[in-house]
Symmetry: C2
Subunit: 433 residues, 2 copies
Amino acid sequence: MTASSWAMPSPLPTSPVLLAAYRARAAAADLAPLPRAVKDDALLAIADALIVRTQEIVAANAQDVAKAEAAGTSPAIVDRLTLTRERVAAIAADVRHVAGLPDPVGEVVRGSTLPNGLDLRQVRVPLGVVGIIYEARPNVTVDAAALCLKSGNAVLLRGSSSAYTSNNALVTVLRDAVGGAGLPADAIQLVPGESRESVTELMRARGMVDVLIPRGGADLIRTVVEGSTVPVIETGTGNCHVYVDADADLDTAVRILVNSKAQRVSVCNSAETLLVHRDIAERFLPLALDALAEAGVTVHGDSRVLELAEAAGSKATVVAATMDDWETEYLSYDISAAVVDSLDAAVGHIRLWSSGHTEAIVTSSQPAARRFTQLVDAAAVMVNASTRFTDGGQFGFGAEIGISTQKLHARGPMGLPELTSTKFVVTGDGHIR
Amino acid sequence: MTASSWAMPSPLPTSPVLLAAYRARAAAADLAPLPRAVKDDALLAIADALIVRTQEIVAANAQDVAKAEAAGTSPAIVDRLTLTRERVAAIAADVRHVAGLPDPVGEVVRGSTLPNGLDLRQVRVPLGVVGIIYEARPNVTVDAAALCLKSGNAVLLRGSSSAYTSNNALVTVLRDAVGGAGLPADAIQLVPGESRESVTELMRARGMVDVLIPRGGADLIRTVVEGSTVPVIETGTGNCHVYVDADADLDTAVRILVNSKAQRVSVCNSAETLLVHRDIAERFLPLALDALAEAGVTVHGDSRVLELAEAAGSKATVVAATMDDWETEYLSYDISAAVVDSLDAAVGHIRLWSSGHTEAIVTSSQPAARRFTQLVDAAAVMVNASTRFTDGGQFGFGAEIGISTQKLHARGPMGLPELTSTKFVVTGDGHIR
């Protein structure tokens, strides 16, 4: 009798979501002890299957796209939703890349022989069942499944209903490939049903689902964080600041500001607020405003920014900032800007408004850099570098399941090790207390 | 203007609990950058103050004790509640011990220079504001405060109302000592009010409290886990199993079984269920039953255990087990017992009923030990060692804030590092993407 068959309760739950969770638990029990080679073979089988079955995937996706267009969805969203032969090939390539990454499972995190002779080892193990709740992009379906499989976890995928047909086709391909490789297909499942209730059930499946990772907009994340009894890893929301210190090099500051704001505005690590030390404001702001104007960025400035913009006769679009601007994650060609009296004042502003994602200081002063990095409480603090570097790929993690903005378990970009827990294995010769 | 004063919102919240949380946040901002020496001095000041002011602490405690006795509380609970001069001295000694432990804050967890020349460092930082919800023992008040202060965290303490006067006196002493050492007294606060509502408010203070750690009975922990929007670290509940494999050495198995069950029955790492491989049951059970009988343990056996007990004419007290017995954490001189057909059957039983705390196998077979440690999903897996070793002190962590039975952030005994998060510090020379 196999352990996994034992892991199934009787009678089986009648709710489709809970039944999926139970099946995932059983599959996770079988995945946990698998050696890397077996998991990598399954990942390569997935990549092959995605290529071989591209046509049925693209066909299924076309239905979602047609529905979205009929519903008058914005072209940007429709583009995010669309799968082409090229995009499926890129997704398959990403899966091959994951197969090439080291397996975190089995890593000995710490170990020692205790004074009494007991051998103590803390070993990385899979979390078990990971639930991912995400929006539009169907590529997340494959990314998340690949990272969970590599780290020995079963995954329950709950994409947006607007991509249901696409996700369904993708998961069918993944399950067939995993099953064909001799692994339990239930390691990868789409959460049944397109209703809100199925999400609620997933959020309440404590004891059956080990962690929920919401990926998407602030509303989605808040809903999951506040409604779940399952432990949640909060991701994504980024109200990032760039602080230009009194001792900043002007060209460096402009370059970092523009890159942080405008290199890609739709992502969580883009800058949303500029803070400038009063002693450099008169020299820096005219340059900064012109550069932002060239990048097509509208500035929401406080009174001192407005004065200096006028005094400089800047051609930039500068409007008066409201309280709301300080807490807004624009994700657009907008930035709020304020002049502050000191580094500590900048830190105080960041403490009040930051989402704890990424904060940057531009300065030539070592003491200022040291104080800023000590006092600012965020997943990532940049010194003379763009906020855009907060990214699993940029950090060299090889892959990213999301960027945690909470402090428990994982903070910042999450790679494969963040999809694991640990287990203490203690070995003796009949030791007793 | 100091950062912490900036961290105070205006207007201040009117709820006493939220106001305490805000004050704690401000204090945490001041604690975070403190070097070890400053924190250790404050801890030593606390230890001194506990000795100097023992009389007022014992006097306050006497009021709680009198109230408890008047309410007909059991002598065991009254004893847990009672503070004597000796016990206060022991508590002070524990605080000195914490001062001697290494400071986890500032440890570089990982670091590298990225291909583009950026310096990446992942550094340990305090969690911020830690909330502890606990029962009876007033010594937890000081233990928890000392461990949080050492790790740079502010702490909100919510003890049971039966110990309110004692906790109030202790926290007064701690705050005076911390303030006298030049640190913010608000780093250590008793949650105002003895009502259930104050607990609920604490559990809902997401964004102001970084983590809640419930310490106490299963009901308390379930209430906090299910009612909190603040992240929770689940602790304590231990339905631990001892599995005696077909290849076990009989004397070793008896010794480990009796120690795991009876060395101290009231703790979470004591054993609650015995599983015996059928091939060794006939030889092992008679010895085990006699040894358990000598230790005063009542056995709740399945049909096969009952048969073998009768066949062996054992003098042990053996009653028929019900379904409930398999999931019961007795914390008493009781143990459930079953004969299983195989190691995988034992693993299956553990999967169904374990609370994921500590599971032990007794075996002389290396393949069996390997398979058991791979398949059993628990915070600690013991091979030929007593379940009683799952303990921060035994593991050499120097201190323990609790034993996590969840998989996120921390699993198993939690020491000072488990009271920290991390922060990525990225340093460049004007790097942009």
